[in-house]
């Protein structure tokens, strides 16, 4: 099967999205959004969570999961 060459006819947006530099900026933007949201969540958990063990577990799970997704995204750029 012959490779399909898209580079001549894909739109500029698609072309930009396949550029690792742009992908790094996209990742940075989402990490920034994540940091804002996690600051709001942590504020609520600490202020209203009544020091519950459930909140502590939720906090650990939340940050481990988020770190995993961020690292996967970063490695994908590295391998791309």
């Amino acid at each position: 099967m012959e490779p399909v060459v898209l580079s001549n006819n894909i739109s500029p947006i698609l072309e930009a999205l396949t550029n690792p530099e742009v992908l790094r900026v996209v990742l940075g933007f989402f990490i920034f959004l994540f940091l804002i949201m996690s600051a709001i969540l942590v504020f609520h958990w600490h202020r209203y969570g009544m020091k519950s063990r459930v909140i502590v577990v939720a906090e650990i799970v939340f940050f481990i999961g988020a770190l995993f997704f961020m690292l996967t995204a970063a490695f994908s750029i590295f391998l791309f």
Binding site: V4, S7, L41, A58, F69, A73
Partner: protein, 181 residues
């Protein structure tokens, strides 16, 4: 943060049943899995996609955007969970403190003393609420005709029993203090 009076103790915290957040989690799981399923279907039925020349490997590009997508869903799920978990009624020895978390930036707190309670009712509607024991608790106050409601509360019968017991204790306490005067 809930501030308790002197000698006041939390007897029970009434929260929403886990089934509520399970429904949300299930929906989010489907939304999270959707791009991966679509990608696999597309690659299976349009094998030429794998040969698309974008300069690099398509799978890593997909993996990047999919990770970002999962990070978004993950964060939204925890926002929903926080909303679910912080909706709570604290039944203390003196009162009911009903906290209603509405999104991240709105929070309603109602303090209701037991002597003001006129009626408490519990509703279990449907097969799942009956089997899993969750339902709506209504507490009506005397005079103001105000009502506080907690929907999908877990073990509502237990909460009602404790509210009625504390109501009786508080009436007895008030009667004793009146007669002693």
């Amino acid at each position: 943060m809930l501030k308790l009076n002197k000698d006041e103790k939390i007897i029970l915290d009434v929260r929403k049943h886990w089934f509520v957040i399970f429904g949300d989690a299930f929906m989010m799981f489907i939304v999270a899995a959707l791009p991966a399923i679509l990608f696999m279907v597309a690659v299976k039925y349009f094998p030429r996609l794998q040969k698309v020349n974008i300069g690099n490997d398509l799978i890593y590009l997909f993996s990047f955007f999919y990770s970002i997508w999962l990070l978004l869903i993950w964060t939204i799920f925890f926002v929903r969970w926080t909303d679910y978990y912080l909706d709570v009624w604290y039944i203390t020895s003196d009162r009911i403190v009903a906290i209603n978390q509405k999104g991240m930036f709105r929070r309603e707190i109602i303090d209701l003393r037991f002597e003001k309670i006129q009626d408490t009712t519990v509703e279990l509607n449907g097969i799942i609420p009956t089997l899993l024991n969750f339902g709506t608790i209504h507490v009506q106050t005397a005079g103001e005709g105000r009502e506080i409601i907690l929907r999908n509360a877990r073990n509502p019968q237990e909460a009602k029993k404790i509210i009625l017991l504390q109501h009786a204790i508080s009436l007895e306490r008030n009667n004793m203090s009146t007669t002693s005067i």
